[in-house]
């Protein structure tokens, strides 16, 4: 059974620059043409980063994020995994990683090409965490980078942590989402403690001159929501 068939239930298909992309409930994206799984903004060790400053957030965020990551990786079993930056919340993050979490990470990396794109939170990554480190890269006609850049070039990026808010008859929900106009895609943050920036924020405007569709991650499936249906916070 192919990854595609196996994940039919949980994924949501979109087209990006003419190629099929599968959006996953975890917030990951699978590109069948390249057998590559993309994730963005893992923010490992954000909890301990806050604890250093006296806010003792539950120290389980890395575990939780790894759970989602390994879930996606083992389901799609891709040749390549690309993390689109801010994989660690700060430069000290890799060092604070617990033993158990480090083991889990190695298991997930085992047997596949692993690429860390650097982000503003993790400009430097130690060799000890495995895989290769790049600033940006190309995958066919797509550029993969942390911070999206306005312009013609088709790209997949993270950095902005998009969330969409929907209000229907007085009930509202706010969920992480993929934003895309068919040429560019800004991916949701996968980190358990990664907050979100409302898709209506001005930061998204220059990236999507002709608007976008938001693919909001629900509990059971992903929903395609028109930009006009989204609300500000």
């Amino acid at each position: 059974m192919t990854a595609l068939q196996k994940n039919k239930q949980t994924t949501h298909e979109i087209e990006l620059k003419g190629q099929l992309a599968l959006l996953d409930l975890t917030g990951a994206m699978y590109l069948p043409a390249h057998d590559a799984l993309l994730v963005a903004d893992l923010h490992f060790e954000k909890g301990s980063s806050f604890a250093r400053r006296g806010m003792m957030l539950p120290p389980y965020d890395t575990r939780e994020t790894l759970l989602a990551l390994s879930d996606a990786v083992f389901r799609f079993n891709p040749k390549t995994v690309i993390a689109l930056g801010d994989s660690f919340h700060d430069i000290g993050g890799p060092e604070r990683l617990g033993t158990e979490e480090r083991t889990t990470l190695s298991e997930v990396q085992q047997g596949r090409e692993w690429i860390w794109v650097t982000g503003n939170h993790d400009r430097i990554l130690p060799d000890s965490i495995g895989g290769q480190v790049v600033e940006e890269m190309a995958l066919g006609s797509l550029t993969l980078r942390h911070e999206p850049m306005a312009g013609e070039q088709a790209e997949i990026a993270g950095h902005l942590h998009p969330v969409g808010k929907v209000v229907m008859r007085g009930r509202s929900t706010r969920r992480r989402c993929f934003l895309t106009d068919g040429s560019r895609c800004v991916m949701p943050a996968l980190g358990a403690y990664a907050g979100g920036l409302n898709a209506c924020d001005a930061a998204f405007k220059p990236l999507f001159a002709n608007g976008f569709t938001a693919h909001l991650i629900g509990t059971e499936r992903i929903f395609a929501i028109a930009k006009s249906m989204l609300c500000r916070d």
Binding site: K46, S48, F50, A51, R52, R53, G54, M55, M56, L57, P58, P59, Y60, D61, R63, E64, G98, K165, V166, V167, M168, R169, G170, R171, S172, T173, R175, A192, Y193, A194, G195, G196, L216, G218, T219, E220, R221, F223, A224, I225, A226, S228, M229, C231, R232, D233
Partner: protein, 898 residues
């Protein structure tokens, strides 16, 4: 008749009373005598009894006798009396009133206030040279106690006066204050406490609050005599056993897991009294109320609607009452009702009467203007919410009108007490029902007032998040030993039952978060030294504490600014107008541009959110507000009144006392369905359109009903009956489904019993709590109070750089990985009585076990109409994200196909 002679008063004071044409009142002298004996005392008195003066008289006398301070640095006799009020405004008001006798008698007494508004140089000076009497709030007391110089500052303290104690003790602020009081008693064991309170159901709860519950000092807290005016002092041995002792069992440590949240019968703060320990109570002085209030229901000839809360039909009658009285207070339950009533009265206001509006969301300066005009006697009427419930002196109010449901008997009596501040004249008051159910509620409240029956809430079990905050504060004050602090904390009545395990968990939380995964040892905020004492790690942690102190986590408020439309560019609104006030952020979040709602006395149009302000424009005159107001009130119907309402319904002889329209309606209900007995739960089912409806009437208040609705829809979902939604009000709920509920109940006779069985408080509740937005809000409050995350200050701009974290994300992670963490336990304890009211739901489910009467009907009954009318007017509750998203997605498809 007083047992204490006025000779206790020094001559200066007797002369002063005479010069004012007064005689010292018996309870004022009683309090003086108690002070001489060095006893703590609770004074229960109605408004207008001279309570505040009674509370201060002993201090004024002592200070007068002590003579003037030489004012030198050496002459540091320190603070003599500390006064705590729930309101900053009240503290200021009392300080002003206190200055009068001090000035007129020429007493050498320095009175000062310390609130959030006190400038820093004055604060510093107060520490350096303490006044004789300091008036402040619970939060400021916590800050003072966390100060390194607290020991020195408070060591000579003689007396603490706690004003409006009945209102303080019902919240987490009361928990915080109790811990502060415990620390004061450690610093200054000679301190006696004086509590001033309105009439309450269980004065013993307050008497316990005032004295240490496990003191090692033999001089205080022994069994206390009770004094009632005109009644002989009862010797302690003749005291009846504490009434609670019969009905209350000692609570298990507040370590309840969710499944028994709803089942705990009566959680109470009753301390565990072991062996030789006797009950520790402050003395009691009761001033019996003066004349019975002259209170009645406003009876219109017209028929009241079956639902709604605006009382629009009654406005002309209310206006007439205002016209024919000197000054009227019009109380309503919610801000939006206040807005509506104010607008309607002004539409009728041909005489141009000075009618003002006062509620908590108005701009502070606007509120102050109203308060000043009121004090100066310039207003004919004020339409107000609970913000005016507390005892600021308002001068000559001669009528109180309560619009809408009274919600609670004690509550309504305290409101009525606002009229006619001279206690020997009857207060005049009207209850104005807005719909037919409210007639029942008003009737029940009138009966309760007549019997002087009280329904103030039970004493609280101290919250663990508050304790966490206090522990950090105590570490800021100086090193502490674990056992000493534990004993001190347990001397506070709300924490008397605190277990060592819970205490340790709180200390561990403060230090490192207290997680099973010990990842943060090296970041610990408080650390244990070699001497075994705990200290705060550094000055930064102490600073964090100071910014976070307090238990009031307001729903984040957002300012509302009047915008100007640009003529040159239609559709563009500039934020150029004045600030109208603020609204809750979560309310703002549900608005979409173009929505109109009533605010600050006018109909405004929502234009959008710009930065951190809501931008609105004036809607054209005659525009009807589109966004429905929250009906009912923040306060759910009290259990006591609910029981009375059920009793009136159940007894046809009682119907005679109701207005005729109500009787007719009940007779119709009896013909078409049934009128349930006082302990029964009537469930009606009927088809309507292509849906199947189920209504039920537990009378347990809106919050418990919302929770019930959420859980019922889950169960109906599982029974494949496809529930579509539900609405709830204070009396009942209506659930609608596309599956035939009645049909299922007909085939399966046990279905209804099973649907309403108590086990819904097990797994169903647990599953719902996982995603409930109300639960997340509750958790957020606990997280802020306990100091897990920093408080966001109103007006603080959100910036990308700001260190913020969504507590919803923290909740999800913590719940999954450490479901028994102390913060989750604190949040669940809150949920039991707060926004989810699980405890009351539990009591209801137990009450109706085996008493469910299912009545399948072919159409809606008169009783059910009332709750059905909420559909469309009320929010449809749902925490199911996918449902909302599916609807939004469908809207996109519709658009594409159109």
């Amino acid at each position: 008749m007083s047992r204490v002679s006025a000779s206790l008063l020094p001559k200066t004071f007797r002369d002063w009373f005479k010069s004012r044409g007064w005689k010292p009142r018996a309870h004022q002298l009683d309090l003086l005598a108690k002070a001489r004996e060095g006893r703590s005392v609770l004074l229960v008195a109605p408004t207008g009894a001279g309570k505040t003066l009674a509370g201060f008289l002993p201090s004024l006398v002592e200070l007068a006798e002590r003579g003037p301070s030489r004012g030198t640095a050496k002459d540091r006799r320190g603070l003599h009396t500390l006064y705590i009020s729930p309101l900053k405004a009240l503290a200021t008001d009392v300080a002003r009133n206190l200055e009068i006798p001090v000035a007129e008698m020429g007493l050498p007494i320095r009175v000062e206030t310390r609130t959030g508004d006190t400038p820093s140089h004055k604060r510093a000076r107060q520490i350096e040279r303490p006044p004789d009497i300091l008036l402040t709030t619970p939060e400021q007391l916590a800050l003072l106690l966390a100060h390194a110089e607290a020991q020195e500052f408070f060591q000579h303290l003689r007396r603490v006066v706690l004003d409006e104690l009945h209102s303080l003790v019902t919240s987490k602020r009361g928990d915080l204050l109790s811990l502060g009081l415990a620390r004061l008693m450690t610093i200054a064991p000679q301190v006696t406490a004086v509590g001033l309170s309105a009439t309450v159901r269980e004065p013993d709860d307050l008497r316990r609050y005032l004295v240490p519950q496990r003191s090692t000092s033999p001089s205080r807290g022994e069994v206390a005599p009770e004094v009632r005016e005109g009644v002989e002092t009862q010797p302690s041995s003749a005291l009846p056993p504490h009434p609670g002792a019969l009905t209350r069992s000692d609570p298990p440590p507040p370590k309840s897991d969710v499944s028994d949240l709803g089942r705990q019968e009566r959680i109470s703060g009753t301390p565990e009294i072991r062996g030789e320990d006797k009950e520790r109570l402050a003395d009691l002085v009761v001033v019996q109320g003066g004349a019975k209030p002259d209170i009645r229901m406003l009876d219109l000839d017209e028929r009241l609607p079956l639902a709604g809360h605006t009382a629009s039909l009654s406005m002309p009658a209310i206006y007439d009452l205002i016209r024919t009285h000197k000054t009227t207070l019009v109380f309503v339950n919610t801000r939006l009702q206040a807005e509506y009533t104010f607008q309607e009265l002004w539409k009728l206001n041909d005489d141009n009467l000075a009618i003002a509006l006062h509620h908590g969301s108005l701009d502070v300066s606007q509120r102050r203007r109203v308060e000043e005009a009121m004090g100066a006697g310039k207003l004919k009427a004020v339409v107000c919410t609970a913000t005016l419930d507390l005892g600021i002196d308002w001068g000559d109010v001669d009528l109180v009108v309560n619009v809408g449901a009274p919600k609670g008997a004690s509550r309504i009596m305290q409101r009525i007490g606002r009229s006619n501040h001279r206690m020997d004249e009857p207060s005049e008051a009207y209850l104005v029902p807005a719909n037919r159910f409210e007639i029942l509620e008003c009737r029940a409240a009138l009966d309760a007032v007549h019997e002087a029956a009280q329904d103030t809430p039970d004493a609280r079990v101290g919250a663990l998040d508050v304790l966490c905050q206090h522990i950090l504060g105590m570490a800021c004050a100086g090193p502490f030993g674990l056992e000493d602090l534990y004993e001190e904390v347990r001397s506070a009545a709300p924490y008397a039952g605190l277990t060592w395990e819970d205490f340790e968990a709180c200390v561990a939380f403060v230090a490192t978060g207290g997680y099973a995964l010990r990842a943060y040892e090296r970041f610990a905020k408080i650390v244990k030294g070699n001497d075994g004492l705990w200290r705060v790690r550094d000055a930064r942690v102490a600073q964090q504490y100071r910014l976070n102190v307090g238990t009031i986590v307001e729903a984040t408020m957002i300012k509302v600014r009047l915008g100007k439309s640009m003529r040159s560019r239609p559709g563009t609104v500039l934020p150029r107008g004045r600030i109208l006030g603020e609204i809750e952020e979560y309310f703002a979040e549900t608005l979409t541009p173009g929505d109109t709602f009533v605010f600050a006395g006018e109909v405004v149009r929502f234009e959008g959110i710009s930065e951190d302000e809501v931008l609105v424009t004036r809607a054209g005159s005659g525009t009807d507000p589109m966004v429905p107001s929250y009906a009912g009130g923040k306060f759910p119907l009290s259990t006591f009144l609910a029981a009375r309402v059920r009793a009136i319904l159940a007894d046809p002889f009682e119907w005679d006392r109701l207005p005729q329209q109500m009787t007719e309606w009940l007779l119709q209900q009896r013909r078409r369905s049934i009128v349930p007995g006082a302990r029964d739960l009537l469930v009606e089912t009927f088809p309507r359109g292509n849906r199947f409806y189920m209504t039920c009437f537990p009378f347990e208040g809106r919050l418990a009903h919302q929770t019930l609705g959420m859980l019922l829809t889950r169960r109906l979902e599982r029974a494949k009956l496809k529930p579509l939604g539900f609405v709830a009000n204070d009396y009942g709920i209506a659930v609608y489904a596309s599956g035939d509920i009645a049909g299922r109940a007909g085939r399966d006779p046990g279905f209804m019993d099973e649907l309403f069985s108590e086990d819904m408080l097990g797994d169903d509740l647990e599953a719902w709590l996982a995603e409930s937005s109300l639960m997340k809000r509750t958790f957020r409050q606990c997280a802020v109070i306990a100091g897990l995350i920093e408080r966001r200050f109103p007006g603080e701009k959100k910036t990308g750089k700001q260190v913020t974290i969504s507590t919803d994300l923290v909740y999800d992670v913590l719940r999954k990985h450490e479901p028994d963490h102390v913060l989750l336990r604190a949040a669940r304890a809150d949920a039991a009585t707060g926004l989810l009211d699980v405890r009351r739901l539990g009591m209801m489910l137990e009450r109706i076990r085996g008493r469910i009467i299912h009545k399948p009907l072919d159409r809606v009954s008169p009783l059910s109409v009332s709750v059905m009318l909420e559909i469309g007017r009320e929010r449809v509750y749902s925490d199911n994200a996918d449902e909302i998203l599916a609807e939004a997605e469908a809207a996109l498809l519709d658009e594409a196909l159109a």
